[in-house]
């Protein structure tokens, strides 16, 4: 996209009760991202537009939305990725109730976080040092890259299509936390039962939709959920797991 092109944006405006797409025509400068364009709409056309953001560099996970239907971070989606002249549609994340415009009520995730057990780290060794080796923590560090954008939670069909599952299903972001505890070299707390009972990891049927949207490129399914399911299976027989295997690949 060349500098100072005009773009047409269909932006969802409304509150929890009602709303509609509103069309805005604004300038987009060279190198800009979708969040820049949203901010320009806000500064020039709609001062009261509600949108979350903090870092504008893909580090805080605040600016999640659906752009042309694709769950993405607005600050990491460059305008140059769209064909010139096309209309860009921006809507709030679908799985969470809308508060206003692009802002959704993500409190579900904060409630789940309260239920995730905490790890208990073993005391230091005799020389007073807690030792861990880099090769043993590479995997944990991958999980801990999570910026809590909740895009994986938004896209997981277990909650997206079945509101009632929210009670029994922690979701992919939190499976990372269970996996982290299970694989932490110094953690002494066994979380396998909690992952099954409170986390509902058995409901996951390994569709990998979560991995596809993760802006941090965490291999949530392959590197966390599957190894975690295996560990859970060691203590519990898990029938969904083999059903999952059968329908894997199918969305």
């Amino acid at each position: 996209m060349a500098s100072n092109d005009q773009v047409t944006v269909e932006l969802w405006r409304g509150d929890g009760k009602e709303g509609q797409f509103v069309e805005y025509k604004v300038d987009a400068m060279e190198g800009e991202v979708v969040l820049d364009v949203v901010h320009r709409i806000q500064a020039t056309h709609a001062n009261d537009l509600a949108v979350r953001w903090n870092c504008k560099a893909g580090k805080c996970g605040s600016c999640s939305a659906e752009i042309n239907g694709k769950p993405s971070l607005m600050c990491m989606t460059r305008m140059s990725t769209f064909e010139p002249g096309t209309t860009i549609t921006i809507s709030p994340m679908k799985t969470f109730p809308v508060i206003k415009d692009l802002v959704t009520d993500v409190s579900f995730n904060y409630e789940v976080a309260k239920k995730v057990p905490s790890l208990k780290i073993a005391p230091p060794g005799e020389d007073g040092v807690r030792r861990m080796y880099q090769k043993d923590i590479d995997r944990l560090q991958e999980y801990r890259k999570c910026i809590e954008c909740f895009l994986c939670q938004n896209v997981c069909h277990v909650i997206r299509d079945h509101e009632e599952n929210k009670k029994a299903f922690a979701g992919p972001r939190f499976f990372l936390r269970f996996a982290e505890m299970a694989m932490h070299p110094l953690n002494t707390e066994d979380v396998r039962t909690a992952a099954k009972d409170e986390g509902g990891i058995g409901f996951c049927n390994i569709t990998k939709c979560c991995t596809e949207v993760c802006p941090e490129h965490i291999k949530i399914t392959d590197n966390a959920i599957i190894p975690m399911k295996e560990r859970v299976a060691d203590v519990h027989y898990d029938p969904i797991r083999w059903i999952g295997r059968k329908i894997r690949g199918k969305k």
Partner: protein, 605 residues
């Protein structure tokens, strides 16, 4: 018309409230709870999104894991020299002594730092630190820190009020702070927090400059809340311009490029390809800085026999050097300098050590940092000045009010070393939590006056009830231009005076700003409110800068380019706000005891 009904206002009561949920606020809340006080944590964004999440390079702590010679005294010395001796010595001492324990505590709570070969916490080189001492996780240390603290605070059952903005502190007749009042961003409804002790942990002020690394939250609310309540602010002229922000494309201008790039081997070059930092070594650092490229490169692996690269001089020096190169016509195509790591380290090394820099440049600028140089330039990054506190307890000059983290002043003097903020948050966050909780045990039940509450509500609603006033975004953008152009990296008297008169005009325009739309999650309204704090804090910065007729750390005067150690080097500027009138007074700096002063006798000072 939005109206306030005082009878149905939501009210909560706690022993301790903490305003701000960055590293400092979270650490304070954890300690306050652990001390047995009922505690609330209040923040403008969602939990875990505070500015701290963006910190990259690491936490400076003299653990000696990589260089056993390191200890708190060396760290203390580096901090004081980096701050050009304007630091509160006692804060710098406590910080250097306590950070190693605070880092280990994070590990106990689940943080997973990068490791040395023998399984300890790895430490990296950073500007102004004699030894490699930054505990880190790649270049996303802030994320690790905030997540660890957040999970700890949640598991302890902290009461969290998120997307709730504090408008004002509440005071009783004696002036004691007895809580705070704010509004929910979602509904616009007001909420009162009565508290025996209140901790400010609101972070920085960078959003009043146009090119800044800071998030929208950094509007200096805590600085202003404290000043309005009558507390002292010190050193407000000292603003850190980080030497390496992104410069292109325009929409990412100011986003930070971690100093870790240079710590891990990157070097600055001008348009002739020359490593220009060798031309900018100041007298104070000459004895310990390499003067040839060969020695500088050797230093990365041999700290005993080689001196450190000038690429890692303290930030104020590097920012000024880049600025001079650009002015001399030797800048990069988009008005910065080149930062080159691609020709000096392997792509695998770069991707492993600096994954988020790799990602950030690739996705936002289309630049592959393993194959080409970055373009970088100064960006407004950190406020050294802040609320004056007692070093041991973090108590401000008003009873019932404590402050920690970036909002507090003193620790960093005129210039902060990289990595010294995250440690500051932990050390003084913990102290604030424990002393506020202790204060609360002896304080009587907080009494807030109803007329004060009505007045705060009335004023907050004005922008919503005004018809046809100014667009708050226009006022904000003009403020950012004013501070950028007139209170920037290089300052002079005529421009600072001009800034002050512009700020007065902007204050008048702020009072006429109108937010259209309704009261729910209305960003225009939120900005109109934030502007009040931004203008107070900008005024404090401009007044202090005008009064300091010397150059030191994050304050460079074109008309007074030299340091004045005998005069201004011995004073702090104290800013006070008395019923709408701002005053500035010089006060003598606290003196270091002889046993610490001795540390500076060998070598240049």
């Amino acid at each position: 018309m939005a109206q306030f009904n005082p009878t149905d206002i939501e009210t909560h009561e706690f022993d301790v409230i903490v305003i701000g949920a960055g590293g400092a606020g979270l650490r304070a809340a954890i300690e306050s709870l652990a001390s047995g006080a009922s505690t609330a944590l209040i923040c403008k964004s969602l939990l875990g999104k505070a500015h701290t999440v963006m910190a990259e390079g690491g936490i400076a702590a003299a653990m000696g894991n990589v260089y056993p010679d390191d200890n708190w005294k060396v760290h203390f010395r580096d901090t004081m020299r980096g701050g050009k001796f304007l630091n509160n010595w006692r804060m710098a001492q406590l910080h250097a002594q306590e950070t190693p324990d605070r880092v280990l505590e994070l590990e106990e709570w689940g943080a997973v730092f990068d490791r040395t070969e023998d399984g300890r916490i790895l430490q990296r080189d950073f500007g102004g630190h004699r030894f490699a001492r930054l505990a880190h996780v790649g270049d996303r240390t802030g994320l690790e820190m905030i997540r660890t603290l957040q999970q700890r605070a949640v598991s302890l059952g902290t009461n969290v009020f998120m997307e709730c903005t504090i408008l004002s502190l509440l005071q009783d007749d004696s002036g004691q702070v007895v809580g705070a009042m704010g509004y929910w961003r979602e509904t616009g409804k007001f909420v009162v927090f009565k508290a025996k002790a209140t901790i400010l942990a609101t972070g920085g002020i960078g959003k009043s400059w146009k090119v800044a690394s800071n998030s929208w939250e950094c509007t200096g609310d805590g600085h202003a809340l404290a000043a309005w309540a009558g507390a002292d602010l010190i050193d407000m002229e000292f603003i850190q311009f980080h030497p390496t922000g992104m410069v292109w494309p325009p929409s990412v201008r100011g986003i930070l490029v971690t100093e870790g790039v240079r710590g891990d081997g990157g070097t600055l070059r001008n348009s002739d390809g020359k490593r220009f930092m060798f031309n900018y070594i100041p007298e104070m650092f000459r004895a310990e800085t390499a003067d040839t490229e060969e020695e500088a490169d050797r230093w990365y692996n041999d700290k005993k026999n080689a001196r450190r690269t000038p690429d890692l001089l303290p930030r104020d020096e590097v920012a000024r050097a880049i600025n001079s190169e650009i002015k001399a016509g030797r800048g990069s195509p988009h008005g910065g300098a080149f930062l080159d790591i691609y020709s000096r380290r392997t792509p695998e090394y770069i991707r492993r050590r600096l994954p988020s820099m790799y990602h950030q440049f690739k996705e936002l600028a289309g630049v592959d940092i393993t194959a080409e140089p970055m373009e970088v330039g100064p960006t407004c990054h950190y406020a050294m000045g802040g609320v004056r506190v007692d070093p041991d307890t973090t108590a401000t000059t008003i009873p019932g009010l404590f402050a920690c983290g970036e909002v507090a002043g003193g620790m960093h003097g005129s210039n902060r070393l990289g990595g010294n903020s995250l440690g500051d948050l932990l050390v003084f966050g913990r102290r604030a939590g424990s002393h506020a909780a202790q204060f609360a045990t002896s304080a009587s039940a907080p009494k807030a006056s109803e007329s004060q509450i009505s007045q705060i509500a009335k004023e907050a609603l004005e922008p919503l009830n005004r018809e046809g006033g100014e667009n708050p975004f226009d006022v904000l953008h003009n403020l950012q231009d004013t501070m950028q152009d007139l209170v920037g990296i290089i300052r002079k008297e005529s421009e600072l005076s001009e800034a002050l008169s512009k700020l007065d005009e902007l204050e008048e325009r702020r009072k006429k700003a109108a937010a259209g739309g309704n009261i729910q999650y209305n960003t225009g309204w939120h900005h109109a409110i934030d502007l009040k704090a931004q203008l107070t804090v900008s005024k404090a910065a401009a007044m202090s800068a005008l009064a300091r007729k010397e150059s030191r750390g994050g304050h460079t005067r074109d008309d007074y380019p030299a340091r004045d150690d005998e005069g201004f080097g011995k004073i702090n500027h104290v800013f006070r706000w008395n019923d709408g009138t701002a005053t500035l007074d010089p006060e003598t700096l606290p003196q270091m005891p002889p046993e610490l002063a001795e540390l500076f006798e060998e070598g240049t000072h």
